[in-house]
């Protein structure tokens, strides 16, 4: 598969592509991570987080003009995450290396995974889980994939933009009501 096709597949949330990337790089990643003092479970966990971050960066258009191969990029995310983990585990003395990473160009705009949510955000996530599928789809396309109303209309087969618009505001209203109820009840 072409790299650009892979990136396109990641953006679309194609499970097939996700699996292909996951499986085809896993052995090499585990092998590469062996030299660090981290357990295999932790490495697999980091590998999975790296793929999640890779997908997110693809969605945000941050790797549309990727200079390196996807694999190299994935590995640099992984390496960054390993360093962070080592630092957390206090096994990391190479702080300079991490600094170097943090200023590296490719990763400059790299999104952190596993960020803690604020209380409001946790509440919102809980409410979001309880929305109907239609609302989830519209809101995810808008807020996560960065689609505009017209693109959402095409993606979800709505008849016109206004329907999407009112659907979206209904969903937000529902969310707000859920939060309000929760806070008052």
């Amino acid at each position: 598969m072409l790299e650009s096709n892979l990136i396109e597949g990641l953006k679309k949330g194609d499970k097939h592509v996700l699996k292909h990337i996951y499986i085809s790089n896993k052995a090499a990643f585990l092998n590469f991570a062996k030299k660090y003092p981290i357990s295999k479970e932790e490495i697999v966990d980091i590998y999975q987080d790296s793929i999640v971050a890779l997908r997110e960066n693809a969605i945000n258009g941050k790797i549309d003009d990727l200079k390196s191969t996807l694999k190299t990029y994935l590995f640099s995310i992984g390496k960054y995450m390993i360093y962070k983990k080592l630092k957390q585990n206090k096994k990391m003395h190479l702080v300079d290396d991490l600094l170097e990473f943090e200023t590296s160009n490719e990763l400059k705009a790299f999104n952190e995974i596993n960020n803690e949510l604020s209380q409001e955000q946790v509440q919102l996530q809980r409410a979001f889980k309880n929305l109907g599928q239609k609302c989830k789809d519209v809101l995810t396309l808008f807020y996560y994939r960065g689609f505009n109303l017209e693109e959402i209309m095409v993606e979800l087969n709505y008849t016109n933009k206004d329907v999407v618009k009112s659907q979206k505001s209904r969903c937000i209203k529902t969310l707000k009501t859920m939060i309000l109820k929760h806070n008052n009840g």
């Binding site: 499970k15 097939h16 996700l18 699996k19 996951y22 499986i23 697999v44 999975q48 987080d49 793929i51 999640v52 997908r55 997110e56 995974i113 596993n114 960020n115 949510l117 604020s118 409001e120 955000q121 946790v122 919102l124 996530q125 979001f128 889980k129 809101l139 995810t140 808008f142 807020y143 996560y144 960065g146 689609f147 505009n148 109303l149 979206k168 505001s169 937000i172 969310l175 707000k176």
Partner: protein, 236 residues
């Protein structure tokens, strides 16, 4: 542009310069507006988290799929038990029973003759995965793999196995549609399609259709001849 539209454009990054000015001004002067923007920012963050967790879950599932290898011996043992059970039924039980019981007594999903699976094989091929799932009785999983296979390579044979899996998870009507459709083309699975279609009708309590299908099978094919005869007699 009203306030809601301003916020929407802000998030889809389509604010014009002039609108951006209005937006910034409102952020400074209108606390309700600023609160609303914060709400949307929080929503964006929580959806991001939700997506990250969902993706991670998918990856963890890949990991599990890989480690749950197919247990050959167990399947053989189970097949033998089923065979013994079925033979006992045919020899001992000649009385008329209800359609549902007849169905469960007669139905075993057709064995995999398409994709031989070697123990310990680490093939990532979709078809192999589908049949590993099928043989391990993970029918929901098998169906989604079959669907993936079918998306790239339409095949009556794969459809036939998908229908078998559908029968297992009680999606009888879907299975019937597939068998009926398959019967429109002549192929080596014609007889098998007939047998399983008759069982599917039975499951739906449609005795007349089941009998008709059985008689088609009996008059043109050898497959399951004894079983089909017995079943036909019981339904008569």
């Amino acid at each position: 542009m009203d306030k809601n539209e301003l916020i929407a454009s802000y998030f889809s990054k389509t604010l014009s310069k002039a609108d951006k000015k209005v937006f910034d001004h409102l952020m400074d002067t209108d606390s309700e507006f600023a609160d609303d923007v914060l709400f949307h920012k929080n929503l964006k963050k929580s959806i991001q988290k939700e997506e990250q967790e969902a993706t991670k879950k998918i990856l963890q599932d890949f990991e599990q799929e890989k480690s749950s290898s197919f247990n050959y011996k167990k399947i053989v043992a189970a097949s033998i038990i089923v065979l013994i059970g079925l033979s006992c039924f045919w020899y001992l039980n000649t009385e008329k029973t209800n359609p549902n019981k007849l169905f469960t007594d007669n139905f075993t999903p057709y064995r995999n003759v398409v994709q031989p699976i070697v123990r310990g094989e680490t093939d990532n091929d979709l078809k192999t995965k589908a049949f590993v799932a099928y043989e391990s009785k993970k029918y929901n999983e098998a169906i989604s793999y079959f669907n993936e296979v079918l998306a790239s390579e339409p095949s009556n044979t794969i459809l036939f196995y998908k229908a078998n899996a559908l029968l297992q998870i009680n999606k009888t009507n879907d299975a019937i549609l597939i068998f009926q459709d398959n019967l429109k083309t002549q192929d080596a699975f014609q007889d098998k399609n007939l047998w399983y279609l008759s069982l599917a009708y039975l499951k739906n309590n449609n005795i007349e259709a089941s009998k008709q299908t059985l008689s088609k099978l009996l008059s043109n094919h050898e497959f399951k001849k004894e079983e089909a005869k017995l079943l036909f007699e019981k339904l008569d």
